[in-house]
Structures are given as structure tokens and as C-alpha cells.
Amino acid sequence: MKAIAKIINRIKTNLHKGMIVPAVLLFITFTLLPIIFSIGLSLTDWNGYSSPDFVGLKNFIKFFSDDRAKNAVKNSVFFALLSVPLLNIIGLSYALLLDRKFKGVNFVKAIVYIPAVISPLIMGYIWMFVLQDNHGAIFAVFEMFGKGDNYINFLGDPKMAMYIIIIVNAFQFVGLTMTIYAAGLQGIPQDLYESSAVDGATKFQQFTKITFPMLGPSIVINVITNIIGSLAIFDLVVSLTGGGPGYATETISLYIFRQSYGGQSGYAASVSLIMFVLVLIPVLVSLRIMKKSRLHLED
């Protein structure tokens, strides 16, 4: 009887450990196994359907002499370098502006957030219909004033098309970034501001010495998710520019997709792994910098 009670007690004590089993199973099935499978696939010449042959590191070597792949990496990195700061600066600005009580504040927050719930694919098409040369909504306005000839072909200009994607992406996801910052601002104790005000701190000093450091966890979450999201951008590019004109906006995800469905699934898997490293490096660097700056999650 004592032994049974001991077993029941043991089960009760360790029950919480069993709770993570479903999550672990999901992680193994949808994350770990695909990564392991990708590693295996990257060492083959699999074309997507027939039996693959082992080719060693040939796919990885090929990547470094593949100009189109390097261009796609360059485009993705360029996109991330501009998108991440843009999303965070605007997102934080919105959060600070809306962190006060005024009539309609929730309505304004909803307006800023709404684009984030729309599928990026749809968002891309909407903006294509707005920006398109000769057919778009803005062009129609130019035409109305007899200025159609002055319209800039944003999506057809290889130098401008990527900036347009960056702006549309920021428009769509700034609401998400804002929400995380807004939640962070809610967590800052008001007495810190009150006591600093008594000590004569200016608004700017309060921001740099209290708000910004206290937003550490929010900054970490936003920066990391923005880096991952930016380097993996796919659907918005597909619908807005199709990766064009030419290869001007072809990102690494789109390149992988095209290779994968172009009979080069083995090579696409190797590029996916390179992309995995590409995403991992800035994420680790960001975590390191933020830890050094005391902006890490534990704060």
C-alpha cells in the first residue's frame, strides 16, 4: 500500500514533465525531422520525384559559383538590413505615440494592426493594383490630372522595386511590432518615471535611461522575429513583383522555391541549409549584442 502511494506520489510530482510531450513531438515532427531530412537531401541530386544519388558536397560547392543564388542572398540581406530597423523604428514610434489615453486610441491601434491580419500574398496583389504603371490606382489619379507621363514605374524599375517591397512589408507588419512594444511599455512601472521626474530628468533622458532599457525583452523579440521574417520573405515578393523585373527582387526563399520545383530539389535543400545559417548568424549576433547591452530577456 505504501509502495502504491509512493508511485502515485511520484507520478503526481513528475506529471508536469509529461505535459511537454505533445510539444516535443510536434517539434520533432515538424522541425527536427525536416532539418535532418534536408541535410540528407542536400547531399543528393534529387530532382523531386525519382531516386536520389549521393553527390557529397557538390551542391554546396555549386552555390558559391552560382551568381543567381548570390544575387538572391544579396537581395535578401539588403531587404533585411532596411526592413528590420524600419519596422522597429516605426513600430516603437507608434507604440510611444499611442501609449497614452485619448479618444479613439484603440481604434487607431486597430487601424495600424489590421494589415497584419491580411495574407501577404493578398497584400502584394493589392499594392500591385495600386502601384502598377498604366493600370494602377495611383496612375489613374495622375492621369486624371493629365500627369500620367510623369508617373514613375515603381515596380518596373529594378532599382526601385525592392524599396517598394520594403515599404509594403513595413506597412503590413508594423502593427505587429507596435503591439509587442505597446505590451512592453505597459510593463514599465510608472513610479520609475515619477521618481526620475522628481530628480529632474527630461523626457528624452527618461526615454534613453528608463523606457529603452526596460523595453529590452520587446526589442529582442521584435528584432529576432523581424530578422527571421525578413530573410525568409517570399509571398509578398511573389505577388508584388514575382521576383522581377529580371532577378532584381528575387529573394533566397523564392530562389529555393524555383530550384526545388525546377527539378533541383537536392540543390534547393543545400541552399535552404545555407539560408538557415544565414538567418542564424544575425539572430545570434543580435542576442549577443543585446545581452551585452543588458537588453536580454532576463531583464
Binding site: Y49, Q132, D133, L155, G242, G244, G246, R258, G262, G263
Partner: protein, 418 residues
């Protein structure tokens, strides 16, 4: 109470077992369809088929990207029984069932049968029910207004486009954002030179086997160089629409239907969309072959097989699949289909009123050398080739760069899938 429960249980078990027994003879076949315009027609045919053949159930799966869907299904061992997708790489790897013994061939136009025949083995792995054409649609009213006539040579074509653009219309309007469309320019204009030079069967073999000495993609004054030079001539002279890079297929159809564009390069599949937007335009629509970019060659027109069906070798219900195909191939049903997709039937016993521009098409077919589709390597279809045309248009490539990129991309894709 206990007794009643036992009676009910016995009835339930008996019913369930008898139901299982009744279904055991039912054969289920899966049809992977990639033709959007045929979805409703297929669904209606399936209802009639299942009523006539209660022992066969047909599961209709439509996928706009059926070509890739089929590959995914093959790798997942979920292979359909019938598909509209025909891929030469899959054919070479033995994924398709030999359809050479189908009775329906007796009713098929021999030229379509020839296009459905694998030139290397002389076996038919697919059967096409229609013929499709692609060429240059032009607005006869605009041509008459500017005093242009239907061009037969390249120089006449350029002159006609200059006339229409001088009058304020768009010359050759292309929806370059949908890159498959500008990839077609290569398939018909550049490859047209090769197909004309080698003939349909030999050209098909040359493309499939990548016989580089016959294709001559990178030769001086070869097909790709001629294409690139002529294309840039159109661009330089302002004979292409100025939104060439961003216009879509829909924009192209709109521009032609609204009378803004004088000429578009399209297949018969576009006609339905044009007439839907401008039903009164039918009498003004002209259709002509692609004038030869090389003055030593003739104009060409795509006259190829359309609406093909293949049975997969892995199918365990080939007989049921053939029964279903034979049902679809019945003359009345094919007449309806031909009129639906506005393409002439390949069946000799089907007389359909397939197009209001039937006469213009017949005239074009009599003027140009007939060419078929190109057996492109997997992964280097019209969409990928179209991106290279975008780069040429943008000035990212010189003519020489374009020729090199095209040749390299083709060879790389071919090597990857062979």
C-alpha cells in the same frame, strides 16, 4: 432491454458488413487535372459517368500548378491514375502508361497523333483531344485605320507596328510580369527557326536529347542571337508596350479587348477572355503567323496538341481509367468541350462550332509553317526563359549575354533532369 439491444447490435453489424461487401467491387480512380477551364466540364462528366458506371468512382483533383503537384504526389507515393500533366522527364523515367492501343486513336487526326508520339520510342504516352494554335492576334479595324495590311515578313511586321504606334496605339502588347508569356516568344519565334529547320520530329528529338550541335543556341547568327536582336529592335523602336515589364496577362487581354493594343502574341486559349470583355470585337479580330525573324525562313504558327490525358504506370486501375477516358472522348461530350475551350477537336467525328474567328485561324494556318511546343527541360520552362527576356529588355544583358545565359540555363536544367 438486453434483448432489444442485441437485436439492434446485430442489425447494425449486419448492415455494416453488407455495406463493406457492397463496396468491395467499387473501383476508385483519381484524376489530377491542371486545366482550370475544364473543371466544371469534368465535374459534370463525372456525375454522368458515375451514374452510368456505378462501380467506378472518380475523384477529381484540380490543381492550378498540377505539374509540380504531380511531382510532389510521385515523391509521396500518392500517384493519381489519370492526369493532364505530361512531362518528358517523367516519360523518360517510365512514369506513364503506354496508351498506344487505345481505340480512340482511330478517331484522332493523324497529325495530332504524331504530336502525341514519343519520337524516340514511337509510343503514345498521352492522348490529346484538341488542337491549339498560337500566333499574333491583331485588330483589323486599327490596321485598316492606319492603312496597314497583314504583314508577312519581319520588315513588314515592323512597318505595320510603326504605323499603329504612330497613330497612338500600343504595337505588340505583352504582359511581361507573367514571364511565361514572354517565354513563349522564345518558344515560338526563336525555337520556331529550329523547328522549321529540323522539322517537327527531329526538332523534338533535338530538344529532348539536347543535341547541342543541332539546336545551335549559342551559334553566331543562331536562333537565340537573331531573336535577341529582333526583340531589341522592337524595344528600341518603341513598338512594345511601355509597361512591358509590369503588365499582366489580364492587362494584355484588356488592352486588346479595349482597342488600345493593335497586336498581341497569344494562343487560342485567350480568345474566350477577349470576347467575354468585348463580344463585338469578333469580326475585327485577325490572326496571323509569327513573321520569320530570319529572312531566309518562313513564318511559323503554333499548331499543337492540346488537352492531353495520360494514365500513370503506377495506376492499379488502368482499365477503369481507360473506361473513364473513353467516356470523356464520346463525340457529343467532345463537341461541348471544343466549344467551351474554343479549340478545334482532334477527333475527326466531332464537328464543333469552336470559334467565331474560325476563318481567320484557318487562313493563318494556311500561311505559316506549323510548329509544336518545345520539350523544355524540367525547370526551364517558359517562366524561367521569360525572366531572361526581362533582363534583356532591362539592358541587364547584352545580346551576347542573353545568348550565353539562355544556353547555360538550358544546359544546366537539362543536365539536372537527365
Amino acid at each position: 432491454m438486453k434483448k432489444t439491444f442485441l437485436v439492434i447490435l446485430t442489425l447494425v453489424v449486419t448492415f455494416a458488413l453488407s455495406a463493406c461487401g457492397g463496396n468491395s467491387d467499387k473501383v476508385t480512380i483519381t484524376f489530377l487535372n491542371g486545366k482550370a477551364e475544364a473543371v466544371d466540364w469534368v465535374d459534370a462528366a463525372i456525375i454522368e459517368f458515375e451514374a452510368e458506371y456505378p462501380d467506378i468512382e472518380v475523384i477529381h483533383e484540380f490543381n492550378a500548378d498540377a505539374s509540380n503537384a504531380l511531382k510532389v504526389k510521385i515523391s509521396g507515393n500518392d500517384i493519381p491514375d489519370i492526369t493532364t500533366v505530361y512531362d518528358t522527364a517523367l516519360m523518360k523515367d517510365g512514369y506513364y502508361y503506354d496508351l498506344s492501343d487505345l481505340e480512340a486513336w482511330d478517331r484522332i487526326d493523324p497529325s495530332i497523333k504524331a504530336l502525341c508520339t514519343d519520337p524516340l520510342t514511337d509510343i503514345q504516352y498521352r492522348i490529346a483531344t484538341n488542337r491549339t494554335m498560337a500566333g499574333l492576334f491583331y485588330n483589323k479595324a486599327i490596321f485598316t485605320e492606319v492603312g496597314a495590311t497583314e504583314p508577312e515578313t519581319w520588315d513588314e511586321f515592323v512597318a505595320a507596328l510603326e504605323d499603329v504606334t504612330d497613330a497612338g496605339y500600343d504595337g505588340l502588347y505583352m504582359g511581361g510580369k507573367d514571364t511565361w508569356m514572354i517565354g513563349h516568344l522564345i518558344e515560338f519565334w526563336a525555337h520556331g527557326l529550329i523547328k522549321q529547320e529540323l522539322g517537327t520530329v527531329d526538332a523534338n528529338i533535338a530538344f529532348m536529347m539536347n543535341q547541342t550541335t543541332k539546336l545551335n543556341f549559342d551559334a553566331d547568327n543562331g536562333p537565340m542571337e537573331i531573336f535577341a536582336e529582333r526583340f531589341m529592335e522592337l524595344k528600341t523602336l518603341g513598338l512594345l508596350n511601355d509597361d512591358f515589364l509590369t503588365a499582366t496577362y489580364d492587362n494584355q487581354i484588356d488592352a486588346f479587348a479595349n482597342g488600345e493594343a493593335a497586336v498581341i502574341s497569344q494562343g487560342m486559349w485567350a480568345l474566350g477572355g477577349i470576347l467575354e470583355k468585348a463580344p463585338n470585337l469578333a469580326s475585327s479580330i485577325g490572326f496571323m503567323p509569327y513573321p520569320a525573324m530570319d529572312p531566309t525562313k518562313d513564318a511559323v504558327i503554333l499548331s499543337a496538341e492540346d488537352s492531353g490525358y495520360a494514365i500513370m504506370e503506377a495506376s492499379e486501375s488502368k482499365e477503369a481509367a481507360i473506361t473513364f477516358l473513353n467516356f470523356l472522348f464520346e463525340a457529343d461530350r467532345q463537341k461541348e468541350y471544343s466549344e467551351l475551350i474554343k479549340s478545334p477537336s482532334a477527333f475527326t467525328d466531332v464537328d464543333a462550332d469552336w470559334s467565331p474567328i474560325r476563318e481567320a485561324v484557318t487562313s493563318a494556318l494556311s500561311k505559316g509553317t506549323h510548329i509544336g511546343f518545345t520539350a523544355t527541360p524540367s525547370g526551364f520552362g517558359g517562366g524561367e526563359a521569360g525572366i531572361l527576356v526581362q533582363n534583356l529588355y532591362l539592358g541587364e544583358y547584352t545580346v551576347a549575354d542573353f545568348v550565353k545565359e539562355y544556353t547555360d540555363s538550358w544546359n544546366e536544367a537539362w543536365n539536372a533532369s537527365n
